[in-house]
Symmetry: C2
């Protein structure tokens, strides 16, 4: 039969993250800085196993039948309380929605809020699925120029003048892919523009609590006087990514609409995995668990940067993240990034080209992302020696 | 702030199924024929617990880290093989997609295939989320008149002449809400119209194997000469609804596009629940499990209809399902269905008004749906005595 898919559902280009994964999978001794997996050694395995044992063997019918469409009420309440009490977010006029990881939210928000041709403003380089989900919903992911503090307010304002914008998508803490944390005054400037042009803000904060320092920059949601911020969080990085438990917290009316769209279009979520997370929150010291994750990540991050400083080209600029999972390195103009990526692959090291993260209208650039969380420390040292030496070859000493 | 949600994301009316659930939840002794839950006694609880124990304690990191975006490859292969070998579906040119229940497919198909204003043809009365998901995607769920054999080909053809149709949504076996199974010659006629107007067919078959008789009507997919059928199935009714494992099987190009949209917009699925289902398929006699479910359902269905025949009004017409979960009863014209529903609630029995299942352009009608799977046999007898007596009161003897 002849059948034409809509333009929004057509593939827009290669997935470089998957490419690294798939090509690396067949290579013995391959070291991947491409995959954004959490550190396995920071997952509370025993506690999760205990939680499964308890939940699967206590009233099993409850988790094996259809459960509540909104998800586990206890988990929602524990999450909501932490957002209010620990993260200082407003309590009034807000609703919470439990999702299958924060990944499910990436589609739910534009699907519910956007119509064909609406614009979504986002960092020039941002999370690949954050870009692609907007495209797949028929909206336009407009890349906004960044500097070392993140999105540039003047560039945002220029784009917002089109009047076609619906929301700004931001990862303000330890941004993916750059590792940048947006300072407070920059957040205030972005919020003011959202106010002027009546835009919502979708604050994606999956690693927000995984900090390497004591400095806490307030979230947009905690400063949300107008109730225009939809906050997304996740237990993927603090507990386990495989359990797929995330959430949205924001204006009642909007979360209500998203919940309805989710009920109709996505159906129910597994209850057992939600119960496991709730059981953990009830039984472990969650703050201590987050600190443990941060300690593990910081050590690996330091090791990555220290090794690069020792072996890499001084011509390469890089970010020094204060949390999260990613370092962003930028090579001088004129260096062939595609060729550099291939050379790394030949040397059995996976990196992700900046082009993977480029929103609409943004050039591929001279940068690449490195994730320091999943590889072992030995792999980090070995791999960064190789990456470092290769940058010297192509960028000069 | 002032913010207007798109029309597609606005609530279209009450959810009568949820209403029955929520109002009934607070009433002691309430008997619900409203909820479409499987029979708890047919869930292989012990085997599922064993599967969890095995999977959670063997290589736990695998299920606690991000897993394959496409889901568990072994589960996909077991499912694919069954569709080809047992259900006689074509192998060539097809792909399989694992989903979070067949519920997730209800949104994925229109989101990927439809653009704003496209028409989707469906039974006049059909699964509520099947209707709402199409609405939420900005497409138009066009209800097509039915008779005792299901969708009427001539009515479909009349609608299809608009040229705006993208696909036909059908539940050919033991339809929800009517319990009707579409005979072979009717399937052929519908398929011919799909061919003439170049429409895809979305065959939703969650209860297809739960048959009360030996008669097997071939699926659309098994007769799919043009490769225009997307088949959706689920392990919710044969194993456990709470595990949320379903699948799509259909044309490579279309499943590929749906998979990409799913990857971008929905993210990953929990792996543990998929592994539990795969472990069950590997270790239990799945055919015997399906037969067990069918035996339990048939017994309850017979009990429901026998009790109604004994105590109900002869003026009420009802379907006699040969499988699945639902009976559809139709009262004479002029009876006030809303008032009848309220009277049932007052007598502590929940039914679902036909209006819950009406696609766009279809009147509320004189019917109601009864689900016979979840209540106990005692509840079925007691509840159907009450429903029966009430029909006599409002419809006459």
């Amino acid at each position: 039969m002849k059948f034409k898919l809509p333009k929004k559902s057509m593939h827009k280009g290669p997935n470089f993250i998957r490419e690294v994964f798939e090509r690396g999978a067949g290579i013995p001794g391959f070291i991947s800085f491409g995959i954004g997996n959490p550190a396995s050694e920071a997952i509370p395995v025993k506690e999760i196993q205990d939680a499964f044992d308890e939940i699967v063997h206590t009233n099993p019918i409850e988790i094996l039948q259809y459960g509540p469409m909104q998800g586990d009420a206890h988990l929602a309440e524990l999450t909501r309380r932490r957002l209010i009490n620990v993260r200082h977010m407003p309590a009034e006029g807000q609703s919470i929605l439990i999702s299958i990881g924060a990944g499910q939210d990436l589609g739910l928000v534009p699907r519910t809020i956007c119509e064909d041709g609406d614009e979504v403003y986002m960092d020039a380089y941002t999370f690949t699925s954050g870009i692609n989900a907007v495209r797949n919903c028929g909206a336009v992911p407009v890349g906004i120029a960044m500097d070392e503090k993140g999105m540039i307010p003047e560039a945002l304002e220029k784009a917002a003048k089109s009047g076609k914008g619906k929301y700004i998508y931001l990862i303000p803490n330890f941004q993916n892919p750059t590792g940048i944390t947006m300072p407070l005054e920059r957040r205030r400037a972005i919020y003011d523009i959202a106010r002027t042009y009546d835009l919502l803000i979708y604050e994606d904060d999956p690693y927000g609590e995984i900090r390497f320092t004591d400095e806490v920059v307030p979230t947009f949601k905690s400063m949300d006087e107008d109730n225009r911020v939809i906050y997304a969080g996740s237990y993927s990085k603090t507990v386990s990514a495989g359990l797929r438990v995330g959430f949205l917290y924001g204006p009642e009316e909007i979360i209500g609409a998203i919940q309805m769209v989710k009920n109709n279009c996505d159906g129910q979520m597994p209850l057992v995995t939600q119960r496991v997370v709730a059981h953990l929150l009830d039984t472990i010291d969650y703050d201590e668990q987050i600190k443990k994750v941060a300690r593990v990540y910081k050590e690996k991050c330091d090791l990555m940067l220290d090794t690069f400083k020792k072996y890499g080209s001084s011509k390469v600029r890089f970010t020094t993240p204060t949390g999260g999972m990613f370092v962003w390195m930028t090579m001088p103009d004129g260096v062939d990034c595609d060729a550099f990526f291939e050379t790394c692959m030949e040397h059995k090291v996976g990196i992700v080209k900046g082009a993977a993260f480029a929103a609409d209208g943004i050039p591929a650039g001279q940068s690449f992302r490195l994730s320091f969380t999943f590889p072992s420390k030995e792999q980090i040292v070995e791999g960064m020696k190789i990456v470092g030496a290769l940058t010297k070859e192509v960028c000069g000493d």
